[in-house]
Every structure is written in structure tokens, then in C-alpha cells.
Symmetry: C2
Subunit: 336 residues, 2 copies
């Protein structure tokens, strides 16, 4: 079934207000969940909302907590997320990084002690909407074996890089694992093999069988040893610079994953380069990458392109929701 954006937003807002969120924060939180769903990232949109509410009920997320400045070094600031709502903390951090970039060219907020930020791409779109280049990443609980080991010792540490463009922002939003457990599950449910190898089976062989990887708990980092190293560095930087916890300190029992460390960096492109040649250069880069090959009709998508296509479709035709999820979310308001 499909519902309108407004219907979705109003419902989420109603539930959040009843929970006790301040009105402006309930509105932002509802918008972030609704935008994520609208853009097709259902796993971190409405489908995730019940778990978000559960984390409020069991006290993991403190809805009254607001992130606080720990100390400032000019263009770089450390903030404490006080275990507040992860998406609100992340949004506030990117907002602050953007403000710092207006003053210093570049701005950075390192955020400790926060919760899951839901869709990381949200803060990339946020930066791009403000006309700045944004980079952000988060660490996670251990969910990815390093290259050379069998057990999860790394987080999949999603990384987001966003560039503003009037014809549609360029927004990369990727975890460092080749496939998330959510993706493995969808392939398995559909009875499909993965398009490329995604991890090891129980015998230690690389496989495209999603179920075999779910059994072994050995998904692959992107680029094998390379992603393994990259995930390690992202965790190290987030924890060191925020003064927060690293992956090995984050409890791996879902949904208890809390105390995350995150990084938000912004570059004020508008003040750095006022000559408006930027839009032209970005379009040239995209055009070159997407230009059909001599030998094939290449179909190269730029990061963020698919999200924009889905957004347009969902705003026109309504946002698809699973009836049982939607019923559950609608009923939440009554149970609070």
C-alpha cells in the first residue's frame, strides 16, 4: 500500500509528541524518518521506527537529552550526545559543522556518546541543501570480521560524502561492508544469489549465497583487506577525535547498540569558490562518468541519483509501506 508523505509525517509526529519530545524536536525527528522513507531507504525509515520507539521505552535513548559542547578549538568542536536521539544529535552536529565552515572555510564536529543516526545520508542531504560539501561517518558495534579473521571485530561504519548541485545533489551513503544483513535477508527471502561474493560460508569459502553468510556471520568488507583497513581507521578517528567509545567498547547486543562516536565535516564551497564554475564542473564530471561506452550502452548511476528518482516517484504515487508496519506505527499513538 502507498500513503502520502503528509499522512506518514503526521502519524510519526503524533507518536513522537505523545512520547514527550519537545514540539520542534518531534517535528524534525518525524521529518527525518519521513524523508528517509520517501527516499526509499525503508529499512531506516518507517520500518525502523518501532525499534526507535522501543529504544526510547527501554531508556537507551533519552528524548530530553540535547547534545552539549565539550570543548572548542576554533574550526573543530567536540560534543557530547548525552545518549539522546541519534538522528537529532547527528542533525544538530552537521548544522554546527556547517556554521563552523561558514566562519573557517572548513568546520568539524566530533560527537561522542550518541545513538544510531538512522539513515546517514540524511546529514549529507542536509549539508548539500545548505550549499556545503559534507562528510560524515559513524562507528557501530562490531559486526564485520577484519580481513584475516572470522569474528566481528570491526563496525561497518557507514560513510557519507555529499556535494551540492542544483540539478540534484551527489550523495554517497555507504557502509563499509559489501552487503548489510538487511540486504542479505532480502536476497535470501527472494531466493536470489548476491550479484557478487558477499562473504564466507561456514566452510570458509567466498560465496554469493546470502543465507550462508547469515549463518557464518562473516560478511565481507568492501575491497577485502582495503575496506577492513578503512573501517578500522574510521572507528579510530571517530573515537579519538570525539573522546568517545570505539567499536570494541560498544555492546553488540541489538537493540542495545549505544554510545556511538561520529564525525561531521563541512566545507563552505559557496564562500571558497564564488565564481559559479562549480555547477559546471560537477555536471561535466557526471556527464563524463555516464557517457555511453563505445562498446556498450553504459548505465552508470551517480551516488544519490536513485534516491532522487525514488523520491520523485514516491511523492507522486505515494510512499510504499508494508501494511503490518504501518498498522503497528499507527497504533503506537494509542498505546503511549
Amino acid at each position: 500500500m502507498r500513503i502520502s508523505y503528509q499522512e506518514l509525517y503526521d502519524c510519526l509526529l503524533g507518536v513522537l509528541l505523545k512520547t514527550g519530545f519537545a514540539a520542534d524536536r518531534a517535528e524534525l525527528c518525524a521529518r527525518l524518518f519521513a524523508d528517509t522513507t520517501r527516499d526509499g531507504v525503508y529499512s531506516h525509515g518507517v520500518n525502523r521506527f518501532p525499534r526507535f520507539m522501543e529504544m526510547i521505552r527501554n531508556g537507551i535513548i533519552d528524548i530530553h537529552a540535547r547534545s552539549e559542547l565539550v570543548d572548542s578549538h576554533g574550526a573543530f568542536e567536540r560534543w557530547d550526545g548525552k545518549r539522546g536521539a541519534g538522528n537529532l544529535n547527528a542533525h544538530a552536529s552537521m548544522e554546527r559543522a556547517i556554521a563552523l565552515s561558514r566562519a573557517h572555510g572548513i568546520g568539524c564536529v566530533a560527537l561522542a556518546n550518541t545513538n544510531h543516526w538512522m539513515r546517514g545520508g540524511s546529514y549529507g542531504w542536509q549539508a548539500a541543501d545548505a550549499g556545503v560539501i559534507g562528510i560524515c561517518w559513524t562507528n557501530t558495534m562490531p559486526n564485520l570480521p577484519p580481513w584475516g579473521a572470522n569474528e566481528p571485530r570491526l563496525g561497518n561504519n557507514p560513510l557519507v560524502i555529499a556535494v551540492p548541485r542544483s540539478d540534484g545533489h551527489i550523495v554517497l551513503d555507504m557502509a563499509i561492508s559489501q552487503f548489510s544483513y538487511g540486504t542479505l535477508e532480502s536476497y535470501r527471502t527472494r531466493g536470489e544469489q548476491l550479484p557478487v561474493v558477499g562473504g564466507f560460508d561456514l566452510e570458509g569459502n567466498l560465496t554469493r549465497d546470502p543465507g550462508a553468510i547469515e549463518s557464518s556471520r562473516r560478511p565481507l568488507p568492501i575491497g577485502y583487506w582495503k575496506g577492513s583497513g578503512l573501517a578500522l581507521m574510521l572507528d579510530m578517528l571517530a573515537a579519538l577525535l570525539s573522546g568517545g567509545e570505539a567499536t570494541h567498547q560498544i555492546r553488540a547486543d541489538v537493540p542495545q547498540e549505544t554510545g556511538l562516536s561520529q564525525m561531521f565535516i563541512a566545507f563552505d564551497l559557496q564562500s571558497i569558490d564564488k565564481d559559479a564554475a562549480n555547477a559546471e564542473l560537477i555536471n561535466q564530471i557526471i556527464e563524463f562518468v555516464q557517457r555511453p561506452d563505445a562498446s556498450s550502452a553504459a548505465k552508470v548511476r551517480y551516488p544519490g541519483q536513485r534516491a532522487l528518482e525514488i523520491r520523485r516517484q514516491n511523492l507522486t504515487e505515494g510512499i510504499p509501506v508494508e501494511p503490518e508496519v504501518w498498522e503497528k506505527v499507527q497504533g503506537m499513538s494509542d498505546k503511549l
Copy 2:
């Protein structure tokens, strides 16, 4: 054959001085090439030196050019590399980013119009030696097909992230391609298959055969579509922020690759966190990642570990050089 570090350095210095480099710049340039060789990155050390000299002779590299400040926005600066020696420009840029980070917590230099920086890791080690966290990357000529296309439209855009540690810095230095052409060549020469798929053969099938990938010119980005997106973003950021050229504007005829755009970011960890808990946290992270599994004696290396091992070995036993390369480099001094 093996030679001493001093022997290598003296020889390179002699050649560079004769070329006309200013003494201090010849010394730094010789040290960067010698350090790279000492650390086992032979392809960008002494083995690369003849091509570096060729680029000086044919005017691609201007040995008298020094990078110049274009404009400053506080913690962020734009510099013009003036097509000078790529390693000297990169070193100066990281030095400047470090200085900016001392004043602002974070510092960033975007460098346009430069040449190949040789080993990217050099500037990571440089940052870590200064006690700061360093991030840098470069764009390159098109040498990597985007996911979904056959022709090279992306650079492999090496990315470096470095964290300082007294027991040995953690330094990730990786291109966004799964294997470089140099690595493909070594595997082919040794008659070995790649450890994992590295690209497509001429029929469009994923393959571990290095020769087949050299023929198709279709190496893989790390993580397939993910690395494809990441390489695109790295190019876009470097070109937009430096005001320099993007991959599609860089001529692909080696050794003419010039006019590169690069990014250098530093975080002044020492002033951000004075409580000295950092060293402890870094060691904990490394210990956790390397801890043997229940099911296997895991052998996980942290980024930079191998370089340090090779460095120690080469400083003790001498640095291995290919006799024909060494003879050529030694003879260069006479021919200038």
C-alpha cells in the same frame, strides 16, 4: 642486491642537486624517495625515480616551482602547485595543513595544478610523525571504469588516513582500485592468479587472471559500485575545493599525467585531547582487532604494520634494489 639507506639517499641527492634543485628541496625530495624505498614501496621509490627524472627533462615537472597560496578562509586554504615536483608540493601542503590544525583544531589545504605525489603514504607518516591525524587523497587520470561501464572514466584516487602512535603509526594508504596495474603485472610475471577477483576479462566475466584484466583494461574498484562511488566523490571534492582539474580533464597518456588536484586534512590530536588516553585507546583497538579468534589463529595486520616491519628489516639488512634500476639511477648523475 641490497644497499644502505645512506648510499641510496646520497645517490638520489647527487642526481637531484645536479638537476638544479635548491639544496633543501633536493634533500627533502631524496629523503622522500629513499624513505618510500626503505618502507618497501619500491614501485614509488627508487623504481619510479627514472620516470620522475624523465618528467623533469620533458618539462612536465618544473623543479623551480613552489606551491603558492591562492586564498585563505581561516582553517582552509587553497594552493596552486604550479606544476612543481609532486612530492615536494604534497609535503608542503601537509605541513601547512598541520600548522593550520595547530591554530584551528582542524586544518585543510586543497592543492591544484600539481604532479604525481609518488607514495601517498609519505604524507600520512609525515602527519603522524607530527602527532596529528592526517587524511589526504589525490585524483589521477582516468584509469578505472565506473561500475556499469567498460571504459576508464574514474581515477583510482589513492586515499591516506594516518593516526599517530608511539609504538608505530597506523597508516592506511590505498588506491580505490582493488589491484594496481603494477600489482597485476607482478602476479602475471610470477604466473600467479590474484587472491580475489580483480576485474573483468575481455568477455566481461569477473576474473582472477591478472593478464586478462591487463588486456581488458577493466580492473575493479573496491566494493564494485561502492568504490566506484567513492572514487567519484574523492575526485569531485579534490577538484571543487582546490579549484583544479578533475579526472576527466587529466590527460591519460602516461607519463604526461599532470595537473592533479589533492586534499590534505590534519586534526591536531595533541591539543584536542591532552589526557594521554589516546595511546591507550589506539592500542586497545589494535589489540581487539588482532586478538586470535576462538576458531582460528587470526593474522590481522593493521594498516602500516607491514611497512614498519619492512622498514626495520631494510634498515638492518640493506634496502633491496634491482641491479639494472640501481645502475641506471647511479649513471644519471653523469648524464646530466
